[in-house]
């Protein structure tokens, strides 16, 4: 119940439409964004069971063009660009020399001379400065295209049915982590089979001038399927159920992305890249490092960020992100623990001076239904 000064906040082209749809707006990463419409629980269930539409225009986009583009990204990013094909998407980390994470991002390859990176809103200014600084010795042009790019996410089991009738590409031929240029009722768009919910779905990149038109069109088309607009509140509960990291919670500029279980996007064998040496040293410390695990509460309570975790009264870690899981109807948390990370281990979460019993469970908390 804090008073917020909203006049310095950035807004997406959909602000008025959000207000019309009953959104509650809050400042997020410098943007005035809808945190909820009908309510987080209802919206969450709607995405899991039907389909929901998110305005994620606050996300940043950075274009990388030029003859040296692939080589540059191979140096800039931790994941391996080598096997990327035109029209594919790759999740990667971008690290400092010390192994700290600048950001986690998606790479889109149009060709080996043309890419764009989709980055977190909270980091986009910092990211752009970092990418540009690193690019100086490569044959590339870097452009921040965040202001000319809006983004929608259509997620849920009916996402494909809703979008297929509106667009001119065959979604059956668009595999997970791939994208195509297409038209949504004559509006040029990048249609990407990606998302942050664990459901099948799409992320759409399009012009800010056209995004309101497309948002309304998708809402109308989705009406028979029970579509709802979804706020950032449910975006967070959906990603926590999937165990997806969020910059600022599970990862940050500390040199510990391996602890977050992100070793699968750090490819030491691909050759030199920013942060490689430091991360390699981290890797050798296996056993002394903390580990990100899923904790499911066995009694009533909701774990929140920074709550302490203990075993037999001895502190063993803390909660990175926590919520009430609308699917499991219990408290869940993504937590950093030292030792004690085996599945089935019983730990306690300290919630307001009470120790609430919890169990280490396998991630994701809820099975993923993306179309792999």
């Amino acid at each position: 119940m804090v008073q917020n000064n909203t006049k310095d906040l950035k807004v997406t082209p959909l602000l008025d439409l959000h207000k019309e749809l009953g959104a509650k707006l809050v400042p997020f990463a410098g943007w005035n964004m809808p945190i909820q419409f009908s309510g987080v629980l209802n919206e969450h269930i709607c995405v899991r069971e039907k389909v929901g539409l998110f305005d994620v225009s606050h996300m940043g986009e950075i274009e990388v063009k030029g003859k040296g583009a692939k080589k540059f990204l191979q140096f800039l990013l931790s994941n391996n660009m080598e096997k990327m094909l035109d029209g594919s998407v790759l999740y990667s980390l971008m690290c400092y020399e010390n192994g700290g994470v600048v950001d986690d991002l998606l790479v889109y390859q149009f060709s080996e001379n043309h890419y764009f990176l989709c980055v977190n809103a909270s980091n986009s200014t910092k990211d752009y400065a970092w990418v540009e600084k690193q690019a100086s010795s490569f044959n590339v042009n870097i452009k921040n295209i965040s202001n000319e790019t809006s983004q929608l996410a259509l997620q849920g089991p009916f996402a494909k049915s809703v979008l297929q009738d509106l667009c001119d590409i065959s979604l059956n031929e668009l595999p997970y982590y791939n994208f195509r240029k297409g038209r949504i009722n004559n509006v040029e768009s990048i249609i990407s089979r990606t998302g942050y919910t664990g459901e099948d779905g799409f992320e759409l990149y399009l012009s800010p001038e056209k995004v309101s038109e497309v948002f309304r069109l998708i809402m109308d088309q989705g009406l028979p399927y029970g579509i709802q607009p979804i706020g950032l509140g449910a975006r967070d509960t959906l990603r926590i159920e999937m165990g997806y990291p969020l910059y600022g919670n599970e990862i940050d500029d500390n040199p510990t992305p391996l602890d977050a279980g992100l070793g699968w996007v750090i490819k030491f064998d691909k050759g030199e890249f920013l942060g490689r040496e430091s991360l390699l040293k981290q890797k050798e410390k296996k056993g002394q490092r903390q580990k990100l695990v899923g904790l499911k509460l066995l009694a009533r309570g909701v774990p929140r960020a920074h709550y302490q975790i203990s075993k037999n009264g001895k502190p063993v870690g803390e909660v990175a992100s926590g919520t009430f899981s609308p699917t499991l109807k219990t408290g869940i948390g993504l937590c950093y623990v030292t030792n004690e990370s085996e599945i089935g281990n019983h730990l306690d979460v300290k919630i307001r001076d009470q120790l609430v019993p919890a169990e280490v469970v396998k991630l994701p908390f809820v099975p993923s239904r993306v179309k792999k």
Binding site: M1, V40, T237, G301, V302, P326
Partner: protein, 128 residues
């Protein structure tokens, strides 16, 4: 947003309904709206003594957690057990089925320092 005229309110967004030497209370429509979906309500057992202005329980929503403060001093004589299985009543009917506690108050002037509906309406306007 609903603010019934026949109730008293606190600056922490609780409402109070006085009847004889009993006070029933819960959280206001404004408060439930700010918290969002309520998933747990922690309230003390019958017989607990509460002191005006002290936190006695918590409302946990999906997004956040908030203390509840005792609007008057007295002994808990009844708690709303329905909230254990249906915490969402706090959202759907904050002044009715979403009530939390009934207390028997000991002080002779329990309305002291409580807000009238008109005063509370002003306060909410400032915070919106």
């Amino acid at each position: 947003m609903e603010i019934p005229n026949d109730l008293h309110y606190t600056i922490e967004h609780e409402w109070v309904r006085m009847k004889n030497n009993r006070a029933t209370f819960g959280i206001s429509d404004f408060a439930q709206g700010q918290l969002g979906d309520v998933v747990f309500v922690e309230i003390p057992a019958e017989g607990t003594e509460l002191t005006k202005g002290s936190p006695f329980g918590v409302v946990e929503s999906v997004k956040t957690v908030s203390d509840i403060y005792a609007p008057v001093t007295g002994k808990v004589v009844k708690v709303n057990k329905d909230l254990e299985s249906q915490p969402e009543l706090v959202n759907s009917d904050p002044y009715g089925q979403g009530w939390m506690i009934e207390i028997e108050f000991s002080n002779s002037n329990p309305e002291q320092n409580l807000l009238s509906a008109a005063q509370y309406r002003e306060q909410c306007k400032d915070q919106e």
